[in-house]
């Protein structure tokens, strides 16, 4: 996309994410041609939408389409199963003796039966990754309420007959999802910073806006540093295309979002602790987004383990 196309694309996605969420946002994404954009310019498709979705605290099933697109699947009647919670990006299925055992997460899209009748799960057959379709009817679906019920994620478990699989690039799907989630975390962090900044400018205590106190200014400045750090590594990850850099970017975005939440909540103080103020929605959202496809903590540990094993720093863009 050239600059003008990108601006237009961003403007229509901004409108969509600010006005709609959930199934309405899915419909709106189809209208503005987001799926086509994803297929033609994966970076523009992912970075633009997920940043805006994070900013607006909106939800959609767009992450499913990121996975399907990476796996080379174009039907909209399939939903992918994501890695289970608490793992770095474990394949959500194992194949054994002609059967497939499923343990993972999915978007609320998986509950849209009968339109969505099949799930696609990825397992390793030892040498390569293989995708298999499993009927939703054979799986147990449990809504994960958790700390952010509005995200609508579902725990998917079950055991089914394995049908013929086809080879896929799971690593690339994970890489793209980490970038998408990294952008969503950055978008949410920017929204928290906006809320705190506006409050700091408007709130008068000790006869001046609290923005004039260093204790407040420094917190907001630290938040900006955390956000721009994550943004810089996301940019690097798109440029070098490596899985390691994408993992670092998501780790930094997850950690940055916690930093943003801590500082912004302290600046918002009492009003930010109420249910009526929007802050808590972002706080809940970033805590769960950090856990998907590998948390900052797990990713950092894994990158450190790699470093020790290979005794080689991953090259992040030659300077």
């Amino acid at each position: 996309m050239d600059r003008d196309d990108l601006d237009l694309f961003e403007a229509s996605l901004r409108q969509a994410t600010e006005r709609h969420t959930g199934a309405d946002l899915d419909a709106s994404l189809a209208e503005v041609g987001w799926h086509d954009a994803l297929a033609t310019d994966v970076r523009a498709g992912i970075a633009t939408l997920f940043t805006l979705q994070g900013r607006a605290n909106a939800t959609s099933t767009a992450l499913d389409h990121v996975v399907l697109d990476a796996l080379g699947i174009s039907t909209e009647h399939l939903r992918p199963v994501w890695p289970p919670l608490g793992t770095i990006a474990r394949r959500p299925a194992t194949v054994y003796g002609g059967r497939v055992r499923v343990d993972g997460l999915a978007s609320r899209g998986v509950t849209e039966t009968p339109r969505v009748a099949m799930c696609v799960v990825v397992a390793s057959d030892g040498a390569k990754d293989v995708a298999t379709a499993v009927p939703v009817a054979d799986l147990a679906l449990r809504p994960v309420g958790g700390i952010d019920p509005s995200l609508g994620i579902v725990e998917v478990t079950g055991d089914a007959v394995a049908t013929d699989g086809w080879p896929v690039d799971w690593g690339d799907a994970v890489r793209r999802c980490r970038l998408a989630l990294g952008h969503e975390l950055v978008g949410a962090s920017r929204a928290m910073l906006d809320l705190a900044r506006e409050h700091a400018l408007a709130r008068v205590q000790f006869d001046v806006p609290i923005a004039s106190f260093q204790a407040v200014r420094h917190r907001l400045a630290e938040t900006l540093v955390a956000i721009e750090s994550a943004e810089a590594v996301l940019d690097a990850a798109w440029q070098d295309g490596s899985a390691d850099t994408a993992a670092m970017a998501k780790a930094l975005a997850g950690r940055g979002a916690r930093t943003a939440a801590r500082h912004c909540q302290q600046v918002l103080a009492g009003i930010g602790f109420t249910l009526e103020h929007p802050f808590h929605r972002y706080f809940r959202r970033v805590l769960v987004l950090d856990e998907l496809f590998g948390s900052a903590r797990l990713l950092t540990t894994a990158l450190g383990d790699d470093l020790l094993r290979t005794r080689r720093m991953p090259p992040v863009l030659p300077l």
Binding site: F206, D207, Q266, A269, E291, R297
Partner: protein
């Protein structure tokens, strides 16, 4: 001395604790004995002991299995304030209800536009004959929904600098001019309230510490709120006093410890509890978890050791501020370690009662719901009771003798200051 107090208190409890008494009668008996506020003078419901005996008394109460003295803010904050600043007539009128739990108190200090800058509050109290008439809005009043009385800080003079125009009252909040509404917090609970005062009346005889002296009196209340007892006392487990909570006329050992939804703050998990949990979940060999457990243990010990120093007579400048910040750190660190141990499951389970029950049976972790509640609640202590930033400013100015930040609020009349 602690050992003496413990023995003496235990002996008294053994002779006097009677679960068949109504709570009203038990608390009255406890108040008469002096063991409800042992650090008060003997003339005013106390035994003339030091504040340091509190843990010994708590241990004695626990050993005998007696119901502890009233919870809430009356005995804990209002009573020491009235004791220090009230006249003998006011002490005689207010202390009994505070100490024996027949009255329940809340604080009417913070306002929507006066949080960190408490002295900038705008609620007015204007003289009208023998009364003051109060108009304004208060916020973050914990327990106001079960209070019949309040400690009120209001502005009686707008023509002097802001700290000089405040006065402190004891006010009846069950009157037509007072409306109390719960605030729903991000945790889903309603621990706090908004309080609207519209032509509410309070007798001039209820003015504590004299007109225009409210800032000094309020600081006494705040000093008690921020003291170490905040972090280490049994306040959370005590029964709610006052006519509205409904405990007074039940048998002493059958009182409700508040309803689930608005009971007290969830206690942070201790290092020992989290170490057990880490072992149960197979997380105790993770070096990061181990280090964090030890950090938490050290923070807990720091608070306990500081308590011991104070009991031994150490004078620590800035103790209330230090205690408050240690408590904030402890709660946040406890949350951090809790989620390090629970992992992603801590984010995914336990946020509704059904969910918590299911997750507890799956993981074998009892009280998972209470544990995960700290995910959202741990942000509160650094904000309430005077934010940690305000505590740092107080330490800087009053203990380290650093210059105040520039400002006009010590000399410009309140009416001329910029406001929200």
């Amino acid at each position: 001395m602690d050992a003496d107090a413990f023995d003496e208190c235990r002996d008294w409890l053994r002779a006097n604790w009677d679960p068949t008494l109504s709570l009203r009668d038990w608390w009255a008996r406890l108040a008469q004995s002096g063991w409800a506020v042992p650090h008060f003078p003997t003339a005013w419901f106390g035994r003339g002991l030091t504040p340091g005996v509190a843990p010994a008394v708590s241990r004695a109460i626990a050993e005998v299995g007696a119901v502890p003295p009233p919870g809430g803010l009356g005995r804990y904050l209002a009573a020491p304030t009235v004791l220090e600043h009230g006249t003998d007539e006011q002490r005689a009128r207010f202390l009994p209800g505070m100490v024996n739990g027949t009255d329940a108190y809340c604080q009417l200090f913070s306002e929507p536009n006066a949080g960190s800058d408490l002295a900038g509050l705008q609620c007015r109290a204007e003289r009208d004959g023998d009364d003051f008439v109060v108009n304004g809005q208060k916020v973050w009043s914990s327990s106001a929904h079960i209070a019949n009385m309040a400690m009120l800080l209001a502005r009686t003079d707008v023509d002097v600098p802001k700290h000089a125009g405040l006065s402190y009252f004891v006010i009846d909040v069950r009157q037509p001019g007072v409306e109390i509404r719960p605030i729903r917090e991000m945790t889903g609970r309603a621990l706090f309230n908004e309080v609207f005062l519209t032509d509410a009346r309070v007798p001039a005889a209820n003015l504590i510490g004299g007109e225009g002296n409210g800032w000094a009196v309020a600081n006494t209340t705040l000093r008690h709120e921020r003291s170490t007892s905040n972090a280490t006392s049994v306040v959370a487990a005590a029964l709610d006093p006052g006519p509205i909570a409904g405990n007074l006329d039940r048998p002493a050992d059958e009182g409700d410890v508040a309803r689930e939804e608005d009971r007290s703050f969830p206690p942070p998990a201790t290092a020992a509890e989290l170490a057990d949990l880490a072992r149960a979940l197979g997380r105790s060999s993770d070096p990061v978890v181990r280090q964090d457990l030890v950090r938490l243990h050290i923070e807990e010990r720091l608070l306990q050791l500081t308590g011991l120093r104070v009991r031994a007579g150490a004078e620590l400048p800035g103790l209330p501020q230090l205690a408050k910040m240690w408590t904030s750190n402890l709660v946040r660190l406890s949350r951090h370690v809790t989620f390090e141990v629970l992992g992603a499951a801590g984010m995914a389970f336990g946020y509704t009662p059904d969910d918590a029950a299911a997750a507890s049976s799956m993981t074998g972790v009892a009280d998972l719901g209470l544990l995960v509640e700290t995910a959202l609640f741990a942000s509160a202590p650094p904000i309430y009771g005077g934010s940690d930033q305000i505590q740092r400013n107080i330490l800087g100015e009053r203990v380290l003798g650093l210059a105040r930040e520039p400002g006009d609020d010590r000399r410009v009349p309140f009416r001329d200051l910029p406001k929200n």
